[in-house]
């Protein structure tokens, strides 16, 4: 049994099996890419699709109502791969274009096509031709420094759209992996033997475990390669017919290729703990989500209460409060400080709501709006922090200090 996709291609509708769909999509994307660069003409692509549709309909009959992998392969063979087109259409003017593009890529840009905040990490990844995930995680680890660097880069670097399809993507290769397929995925990506990466990870355990953190982060942030397309993409294959065949051949070869004894011995303990770690991780993610949920709800509730109190101070006459000292204390607090605090709290609440929505339901809001909120939050945080000493001075003048501050005062007095 195979899943099929329904696609519309050249004014017709086809049912295409999943693996065939992957290949077909990659093929059409690669063609689109190629011709868009060349002639900037969508007509070529629609002609292509029309012809492929013709081919497909000739393959369907009442006995066979779907398109399978071999149909797609045959069509690709008939239509030709990128190499065939390059032979015919690589004119002089086009090579110049390619050169220019290469030159452009030597500059650092922010990648506006693949971004989470402002595309800084993705742009750096594009510059070094590596997966953005790796840069993001490095940024994530280097916490205090990265914020400054990020903001500087954000301001200083122009943004640009990159084609995400031209990039090799880091996936986890669970099929061939031991625990989460991270090492194997990295090895596919970097073209290094997986065992070397595994050894590096294990050795890093004895030096503070930075590798473990890196491993877990990669595990959290990367996707598992599931479709043939993703599996090919993870090894940096370009899509054309010969490559698809190479890939499938290699895969079957790999299955026959058994590991040597040393590798088996080395991997044995990890295979043993793999299910355990897998289970722990699943629970861990669950716990993490729960804690996050509880934490953010508590945060929201407590902030709301605070907000209520503050609004009472601001809008209500609190002369009825029985405790005159408290009343005086409250009145002494300058109004600007109260306003700052209220705005700050509103911002905090909305930011945490937005973040919790993102973490729990994967719902994003406009990035610029979010960044604006963060910036305002930081600004008001600084304003409040700056005005706190002033407020304390005012309260001190009242001689109505809470005991812990007056205790401090007494001490300093004592020292005099």
């Amino acid at each position: 049994m195979k899943k099929t996709f329904t696609i519309s291609l050249g004014h017709s509708v086809f049912n295409v099996e999943e693996d065939a769909y992957d290949i077909l999509k990659m093929y059409l994307d690669s063609i689109k890419n190629y011709f868009q660069k060349m002639e900037n003409d969508s007509e070529i692509i629609s002609d292509f699709e029309l012809r492929i549709a013709e081919n497909f309909s000739s393959k369907l009959s009442s006995g066979k109502q779907y398109i399978n992998l071999s149909d797609v392969k045959e069509v690709i063979q008939i239509m030709g791969s990128l190499d065939d087109f390059q032979e015919i259409y690589d004119d002089d003017d086009q090579t110049e274009d390619v050169k220019e593009e290469k030159k452009e890529n030597n500059k650092l840009y922010r990648d506006s096509s693949n971004r989470i905040i402002a595309g800084v990490c993705s742009g750096i990844a594009e510059y070094f031709k590596i997966d953005p995930i790796i840069v993001r995680i490095l940024f994530f680890i280097a916490v205090p420094l990265n914020l400054i660097v990020y903001i500087i880069f954000w301001i200083g670097i122009p943004s640009k759209d990159f084609d995400p399809d031209l990039r090799k993507i880091l996936y986890r290769d669970k099929e061939n992996g031991v625990i989460g397929g991270v090492a194997k995925g990295l090895s596919n990506y970097l073209k290094i033997d997986a065992n070397i990466i595994r050894v590096v990870f294990v050795i890093s355990l004895f030096f503070g475990g930075a590798g473990l953190l890196f491993y877990l982060l990669l595990w959290f942030f990367t996707k598992e390669a599931k479709t043939i397309g993703e599996k090919m993409n993870m090894s940096g294959f370009n899509v054309n017919l010969s490559n698809i065949e190479d890939f499938i051949k290699k895969k079957t070869k790999n299955l026959n290729n058994s590991e040597n004894t040393l590798t088996k011995i080395f991997l044995f303990p990890f295979r043993l703990i793999a299910p355990l770690i897998n289970a722990f991780l699943k629970i861990g993610v669950l716990i993490f989500k729960t804690i996050f949920f509880i934490f953010s709800s508590i945060l929201i509730v407590s902030y709301s209460i605070l907000l209520l109190i503050f609004s009472r101070i601001l809008f209500e006459d609190i002369s009825r409060v029985e405790d005159p000292e408290f009343y005086e204390l409250l009145n002494a607090i300058p109004e600007y400080f109260v306003i700052f605090s209220i705005i700050f709290l509103i911002l905090t609440i909305s930011i945490s709501v937005v973040i919790s929505f993102y973490v729990l339901f994967k719902k994003k809001i406009n990035t610029y709006l979010f960044m604006l909120m963060i910036f305002l939050w930081i600004a008001f945080f600084i304003l409040i922090t700056v005005s706190i000493p002033n407020v304390i001075l005012i309260i001190q003048d009242l001689d109505l200090l809470p005991f812990w501050i007056s205790g401090f005062e007494n001490n300093s007095y004592y020292y005099k």
């Binding site: 011709f35 002639e39 007509e43 070529i44 002609d47 292509f48 029309l50 030709g80 087109f85």
Partner: protein
């Protein structure tokens, strides 16, 4: 230059000429053009024809219109323009020039 490369270069040079020639005879749709080119072994894969057709259309040598077909979706039929015919005549002249001189060369070698 290998034989394969030689063939590619020749084909590359002649492709436009051949397509214009085919289109000039009658109104044809893309698959017919491809069929004929394949039969005469000018092209190996079909995909190479489409960018060429679009290029020819951009330079106003050919035009197309949609026609309903008895089976399946409507098809795009290509026909040559007056400007294209003029261009084709020039091409034919230069082709026969080249052809005769190459033939002459081959004969003298024998």
């Amino acid at each position: 230059m290998s034989t394969e490369n030689f063939k590619i270069q020749i084909r590359k040079g002649l492709l436009e000429f051949c397509v214009l020639q085919i289109v000039s005879n009658k109104e044809v749709y893309a698959s017919e053009i491809i069929e004929e080119l394949k039969n005469s072994k000018i092209i190996v894969v079909e995909g190479t024809v489409y960018p060429l057709l679009s290029r020819l259309k951009k330079s106003n040598y050919i035009q197309h219109n949609w026609k309903e077909s008895t089976q399946g979706p409507p098809r795009k039929y290509y026909s040559i323009t007056d400007y294209g015919l003029e261009h084709l005549r020039e091409l034919i002249v230069s082709w026969s020039d080249i052809n005769s001189s190459v033939k002459k060369l081959l004969k003298t070698k024998k």
